[in-house]
């Protein structure tokens, strides 16, 4: 059990530039669940040079450039931390925005911890609270008018956005789009990848003639045709059997998405305490308590997302943690070990929340619930019913 008071004070000193701690660095080694050398599947991007993976090089400890593959990007790792915080938001009393939409008894919720552009995402900008456009509610105005000179509204309502960065790029008629750099970075790479091939053939136990053309309506009378299909064909819809899911669908081995076997897998995470020290709030007391609370949130996010025995990156990439170390990184190229369990990190947030409240910023544990505005709701409804956007626009 860490001495949380001492840890809090050390973080508070760091984020006010009162000591030599500049960052907290986390290094971890992983291996595939099936063991070292088993295949893993990196994230895919636009195809380039015959691959959809991102290969580059790093320096080995011996000073040799060796090939690596990115297994999880900065953005993805940040998203994992946010998703982990979102799951325990109630436990942490974490303020957040929540767009809620119900259709046919199914409720969809999207919080600023999951939205791509965080609290400045178009989903929130195009939502209403109690019938009033969010942006003209008092909270909406506060968030809209926050500037780098005083980010207190974001600290009050959407604190995690200050850890992972923000770019308010979607509203017109404003002077300067608010742009905040991330203070937490983390990336996972696989060393010395051997490229594999993927041959995903779909088999048919009865080997039905997949190329035969049939009347789709006769096969699927319960399906409703989309407007576009009707316009395109003007007659009965014809499909091949394999388009209906029958028959064999052979596939040639694909090298561009064939997975990789790597020599080792590592993660390097950095929480820049100097970065948090650049955030300015209403007064010095809130500067200290606010930045420390953000550091605590960042550490909690990291521990929740990566502090377990392993991690599921994506299909085919389940990893087991082999070793992990955390360290303070100080001026003068010095480091000092840091130990912090997930429970410690959560309790550190509790402590930081209390101190922040004492400084005058009270986090509301209840999310602010928004509803999509009429046009947005209509678009979402149509997408959910798979009718396509053209129906919504008709």
């Amino acid at each position: 059990m860490a001495d949380l008071d001492a840890l809090y004070e050390r973080l508070a000193a760091a984020v006010t530039l009162q000591n030599d701690d500049a960052a907290i660095r986390i290094r971890a080694e992983y291996e595939p669940q099936a063991g070292t050398g088993a295949k893993v599947f990196p994230p895919t991007y636009m195809e380039s040079n015959g691959t959809r993976y991102h290969f580059e090089r790093r320096w080995s400890p011996e000073g040799t450039p060796v090939e690596v593959v990115v297994l999880d990007s900065y953005q993805s790792q940040a998203n994992r931390c946010e998703a982990a915080l979102d799951r325990v938001a109630d436990r942490l009393g974490l303020p957040r925005l929540l767009m809620r939409f119900t259709h046919d008894g199914v409720t969809i919720e999207l919080s600023n911890l999951a939205a791509p552009h965080r609290s400045r995402d178009a989903y929130f900008l195009d939502s209403v609270v109690g019938g009033t456009p969010f942006l003209v509610t008092p909270m909406g105005k506060e968030l809209d008018q926050a500037s780098v000179d005083d980010l207190t509204p974001l600290l009050i309502h959407v604190p995690t956005d200050l850890v992972y960065g923000l770019w308010d790029s979607h509203l017109k008629n404003r002077d300067l789009a608010l742009k905040l750099a991330r203070s937490y970075t983390s990336e996972m790479i696989g060393w010395e990848p051997m490229r594999g091939k993927r041959a995903a053939t779909k088999g048919d136990p009865l080997n039905l003639p997949g190329e035969d053309v049939v009347d789709r309506k006769a096969w699927r009378p319960f399906e409703t045709e989309t407007k576009k299909k009707k316009e395109q064909t003007g007659k009965e819809e014809k499909d091949k059997l394999n388009q209906l899911g029958h028959g064999m669908i052979p596939a040639a081995p694909n090298e561009s998405i064939g997975g990789v076997a790597v020599r080792s897998i590592s993660r390097l995470g950095v929480l820049s305490l100097i970065g948090l020290a650049q955030l300015r709030f209403r007064d010095e007391e809130i500067n200290r308590a606010g930045r420390t609370a953000l550091a605590a949130l960042a550490l909690a996010g990291d521990r929740l997302a990566f502090g377990g025995a392993g991690i599921h990156l994506r299909s085919g990439s389940d990893l087991v943690l082999r070793s992990e170390s955390m360290e303070w990184v100080q001026r003068g190229a010095r480091t000092e070990p840091l130990e912090l369990t997930t429970d410690d990190a959560l309790q550190l947030v509790d402590l930081a929340r209390e101190r922040l409240a004492a400084a005058g910023v009270q986090w509301s544990p209840e999310p602010v619930v928004l509803s999509p505005s009429g046009p947005l709701a209509e678009v979402i409804r149509n997408v959910l019913t798979a009718r396509g956007l053209e129906d919504a626009e008709a």
């Binding site: 991102h54 990007s73 970075t185």
Partner: protein, 491 residues
């Protein structure tokens, strides 16, 4: 000595060059660090503003980085990719987890340096104690350099310059001899009025107008600092590299020999008298020019297509040299054409154009001293063999015959080494002989060479070196793990 040290906290640096955002700015310029100091300064505090005004007046510092310049390790430059939500609610291409949302691929220039430390050093102590204290306080506040994905610690340090890995302004009066053969690199620096320019650009952005504070900076030519005690280099057989940009349809490197054969014939035709250095019929040890097709290699996106042509010129008698220059000028003026390749013009680049030209068109790319060289085109060996076991000795002999010392270490492979020089050409046997030449296909190999001391380039190896095959590129460091022999096709 005043020095600022930036310690990268991760393995990589991310920040694009203002004139080419797709390429990383390595080393990060002094202007980039100055801009970071301006960004974290409190402009209401007179001592901080006074310091910034003083910093912009300092002469450009020496920059210590490893490797010293992007051109020294182009293979370590990448474009980091990520999917970014475009925030447009449009289209039918629905995401499974985010209804109606679309993503777009974005890329950011990234460089993987060998060392995480970058030092900016001034040889005189231009700041007072109190100014140093203000500078130290400013440095403490700088969270990152370039993008926020490159977190750093910046400190004021006492530092002396190391023996290697130092770039200095070309005008610097360091102990080094100013070798005119050394490359120069344009580096952005602050200038008299830089602070005002940054503020004005920021103001323009604040008022919703276009502003480009990231592009501000005065370019100063830097060159590597070479000390008298530097390890002596081994001179190769060539004294000069004359480079032409090739303008016309893009051609892949498989046409290399066709191009160099065409260039050689054109130069011969333009000579006022036959010159053994060009036609090659003379005593066996007479110096000969090598005609080169310069390919786009060594970058992640490299595809080996031909960017320029060059002539590597050996030591020649003044009269021969004069005739050769005349013939090269005439060839450039008339251009090249052939029924199979088409029409191409050749252009000598001005010094200014050369600074902005692709790496392949910069002489330094092919000639900088290095102890490690890797073939961009395979080297054709000097004779046929009956048995593959003869090949290692034949490779040594071929290297010696090409005018280079025997390497301390070499590896050979029929195909390019994976990942070592991206874009290196994987030629077929019939692409390794002159057009119409019917003497059969000699064995050829891609080579990875390490010499006992840095060798000055261009390094061209093998019996087809006069036609550009066996052209090597200097690489930063050993990559033995990538070097492997693959099954022979010519056995």
């Amino acid at each position: 000595m005043l020095a600022l040290r930036c310690q990268l906290l991760g393995d990589t640096f991310e920040g694009g060059a203002p004139d080419d955002p797709g390429a990383p700015e390595w080393p990060p310029s002094w202007m980039r660090l100055y801009s970071a100091l301006v960004a974290v300064a409190d402009h209401a505090v007179p001592s901080e503003v006074a310091l910034l005004e003083k910093l912009e007046q300092l002469k450009p510092p020496a920059i210590v980085a490893d490797p010293p310049a992007l051109a020294d390790a182009p293979e370590m430059a990448f474009e980091r990719q990520a999917w970014v939500p475009t925030n447009k609610v449009e289209g039918k291409d629905t995401a499974t987890t985010l209804p109606g949302r679309k993503n777009g691929a974005r890329g950011w220039a990234r460089f993987v340096p060998r060392s995480r430390d970058i030092v900016y050093a001034w040889d005189d102590d231009a700041l007072s104690e109190s100014e140093r204290a203000v500078l130290a306080a400013l440095c403490r506040r700088v969270p990152y350099l370039g993008r926020s994905t490159s977190p750093v610690i910046v400190e004021v340090v006492e530092s002396s310059l190391p023996e290697e890995g130092v770039l200095v302004p070309s005008s610097s009066q360091e102990e080094a001899t100013a070798d005119p053969g050394l490359p120069t690199y344009p580096v952005r620096t602050p200038f008299n009025g830089a602070l005002a320019a940054l503020r004005a650009a920021h103001e323009r952005k604040v008022t919703g107008k276009a502003g480009d504070p990231w592009a501000i900076g005065a370019y100063v030519d830097y060159r590597p600092l070479v000390r008298q005690s530097h390890v002596p280099t081994i001179r190769g057989p060539y004294r000069e590299l004359v480079i032409f940009a090739l303008e016309g349809p893009q051609r892949d490197g498989r046409h290399a020999v066709e191009f160099t054969d065409l260039l050689r014939k054109a130069v011969m035709a333009n000579l006022p008298r036959p010159l053994p250095a060009v036609h090659g019929h003379g005593p066996g040890d007479a110096p000969r020019c090598a005609f080169l097709a310069l390919p786009f290699v060594g970058h992640r996106h490299a595809d080996g297509h031909i960017i320029g042509l060059a002539v590597a010129v050996p030591e020649l008698e003044p009269a021969d040299l004069r005739d050769l220059w005349w013939a090269l000028g005439a060839t450039a003026e008339r251009g090249l054409s052939s029924p199979s390749l088409g029409q191409f013009s050749l252009r000598r680049l001005t010094p200014l154009e050369q600074r902005r030209a692709p790496l392949a068109l910069q002489a330094w790319r092919w000639s900088r001293p290095s102890d490690t060289w890797v073939t961009a085109y395979p080297a054709v060996l000097d004779r046929f063999v009956k048995d593959r076991t003869e090949i290692p000795e034949l490779i040594r002999q071929t290297i010696r015959n090409s005018g280079f010392p025997e390497p301390t270490e070499f590896q050979s492979a029929l195909r390019p080494f994976d990942g070592t020089v991206p874009g290196a050409l994987d030629l077929a046997p019939w692409e390794t002989t002159r057009p119409g030449h019917k003497e059969g296909f000699r064995p050829y190999r891609h080579l990875y060479l390490r010499f006992a001391a840095p060798v000055e380039g261009p390094v061209v190896i093998g019996s087809m070196r006069h036609y550009g095959l066996g052209l090597c590129v200097p690489v930063t460091s050993p990559a033995t793990s990538a070097a492997r022999e693959v099954g022979p096709r010519d056995a």
